[in-house]
Assembly symmetry: C2
Homo-oligomer: 345 residues x 2
Amino acid sequence: MASSPDSRVPRMEDVAREAGVALGTVSNVLNRPQKVSPKVQAKVHKAIADLGFVPNRAARVLAAGTSSTIGFVVVDLSNSFFLDMTRGAEREAALHGLNLLLANSDVDFNRERAYLELFAQERVAGVLLAPVTTSQPVPTAIPHAFPLHTVLLNSDATEDACTVGVDNELGGYLAARHLIELGRSRLMFAGSPDFARPVGQRFAGVKRAIDEVPTVGLELMPTDEVQAEDGRAVGRAVLDRQPSERPDGIIASADLLAFGIVQAFLSTSEVRVPQDIAVTGYDNNRAAWDSGVPITTLAQPGEESGAVAMRMLMDELREGRSHVHTHTVLSPKLLVRESTVPRSS
Amino acid sequence: MASSPDSRVPRMEDVAREAGVALGTVSNVLNRPQKVSPKVQAKVHKAIADLGFVPNRAARVLAAGTSSTIGFVVVDLSNSFFLDMTRGAEREAALHGLNLLLANSDVDFNRERAYLELFAQERVAGVLLAPVTTSQPVPTAIPHAFPLHTVLLNSDATEDACTVGVDNELGGYLAARHLIELGRSRLMFAGSPDFARPVGQRFAGVKRAIDEVPTVGLELMPTDEVQAEDGRAVGRAVLDRQPSERPDGIIASADLLAFGIVQAFLSTSEVRVPQDIAVTGYDNNRAAWDSGVPITTLAQPGEESGAVAMRMLMDELREGRSHVHTHTVLSPKLLVRESTVPRSS
DNA sequence: TTGTAAGCGTTATCAT
DNA sequence: ATGATAACGCTTACAA
C-alpha cells in the first residue's frame, strides 16, 4: 500500500481548489479579510468548513516569523494568587487576539527552566514568568541569551526584564499596624525571613510598624515551610507556654500558616481567636478560605498582576528595540476578618 | 538601514559552520545522538552553547510532521482534583520525553472549544481533555472532523474517544453505605442530580444504597450550584426545621457544598457535627481541607487519572490506524474524617 | 560522516 | 483577485 488513501489533512491549496480561488486569497481571508470581497470570503469559509481545514500554525510561525501565543510559566497553580494571575493575563490576552498557554513549574527550578526553553523553541511571542522564589535578590531571570521577551510576575525590579510585583514590605506593615491599632502589643511573626524573599520583605514591614510604637514588642517564630502543618506546630508551641508568655497577636507569613495556627488554637479552649490572640495571614489564598474562623489577610492583586504583566509584555513587543524595561508595584489590601475582629453581630 | 546588524537568531546552519560539521550532523546530534561520535557531539554542543542556538520547533514540526507536545484542556484548575490530573499526566509525559502544555477552560464551553482548536492548529501530538460537564450523556467530545487524538478525562465511555473516568455511582453508594453503617437512617442528598452528570450518578449510587435498607429514608435537597454558599443555604434550611424533622446524615455532592453545610451548623450550637448530623463531601478538594471539622469525603484519583489518560494517549498514538478506543473506570476512595466519625482521642 | 537537496504548509511579494 | 514563487528552519534520504 502506497499510503492510506483516506483522509489526508487538507492544506490551504486544497481549500483554494475547493473554493475555486487562489491560494493567496485563502491566506488573505484568514489574515486580512478586509482585502477580500464578502462573496469570496463566504466561498472560502464554506470550503474550509466542508474540508475541515485547520490551519497549520507551525507553518504559519515559520513563514511569518511571529507567533500569537504567549507562554505563562507558573510557580504554583495550587495557590489561588497565581491562578488568578493566569486569569487576568488570559483576559487581557484575549482582548488582543493572543492565546495563553500555561506551564506549571510546581516550585521546581529545573522544570521552570525546561518550560522556558520549550517556549523559546516554540518561538512564542513572549512569556510571562511567575518564578520560583528563593531568598536571592534576583531570581536568575532569563536563562539563556535567547531574545525571549519576558515579564516577571510577583518579582522585584531587575535590570533584565519588566516586572510587576506586590509591595510585600507594605503588606507586612499593614498587618502589624492593624494589630497594633487593635491594641495588641506582644506580636509574633511566624515564618522564616530567609525562606523566600517576599517573606523577608514582609518581616521588614512588620518591623517598621513595630519600631514606630515603642510599647509594642516583636518576636520571631521561624518555620520550615509555610504550610498548615507548620502553622499547627507554631500553635502548639504557643500553647505550651504560660499564658503570660504568649503573644496577643500573630502575623503569619502565609494563609496556610495562619490557618494551621488558628486550627491549633481552636482545638483547645485555652486560647480564643481573636480575643486572646489575633491572627493574620497573607495571600488571601482560597485554599484557606472559610475556615472555622475566617482569617484576616492581605489580598494580593492576582488578576491585576496578570493583566498588568500582559499589557507590559504587549508594550514590549510593540516597541521593539526602543523598549525600556519598566517596573510596576501593586499594593496588597488588608481584608479584615474574624481572626482579628470578632463578628459584630 | 537594511536590517539590524546585531543578534540575528542563529540557525542550525550557523551551528554547523561554527562547529565545522555538516548541517545534517547537527540535526543528528539533536535527534539521533547514537549516530554521531562523542567527539563530534561535543563539538556541536559547544557550538550550540557558544551561539546560544535554540532549535525552532515550528520548523521541526513542519518538517517532521510530528510534535512532541501534548495539550491538556482543563475544566477547572481551581479544583485540586483537576490540578492533580495535570500532575499525573505531566509526570507520565516526562517519562517519555513529551511536553505538557495546559489550557484552562474555566468551565466555559466556548473557551474549551477555542483551546482545542488552538492545539489542533499547533499540530500537537495529542490532547487530554477534562471537559466541561453538563447533564448531557456525552460531552460533545471532539469538535471538528480533524484527526486530533484525544483522551477524555473524568468522562463516561463514548464511542468517539478513549476515556478515563471515576465511578461516581460507586462513590455515592460508598458515601450512603458509610452513613448507614454508622446508624444514620434519615439521609439527605444535597445537590441537583440534573446539575451535571456526575452528580446524577452519585445520587443514583446513594439511592441504590438506600434501597438495600428499607428502614433508611432519603430526601433530596436541590441546590443551584455546588459552592460553599449553596451549602450554607442548605444548612440554614435544615436549621429552620424542627429538630425532629432534620436529617441525621447529609451526603453533599461536592466538598465545598459539604463545607458550607458544616459551617452553617458550627455557627450555632443547635446541631453538632457529626453527633447530630453527619456530613459527607465529594472530591477531596484541598480548597475544603482542614475546615473546622475535617470532612469525610470521596477522594477522586486525580493523579492516577492523569497518568492513565496519558498512557492511553500514548498507546493511541503508537497504534495508529489499528487503534481501538478503550475505557478505564477508576474507583473513588472513602476518606473517613471527623464530619462523620468523631475523633477517637 | 559529508554535502546536497527535496520537501513540510504557510506568508508575502510581484507582475498580471 | 490571480498565479507564481521565494523564503522560513528544519528533517530526511541519498550518493559520495
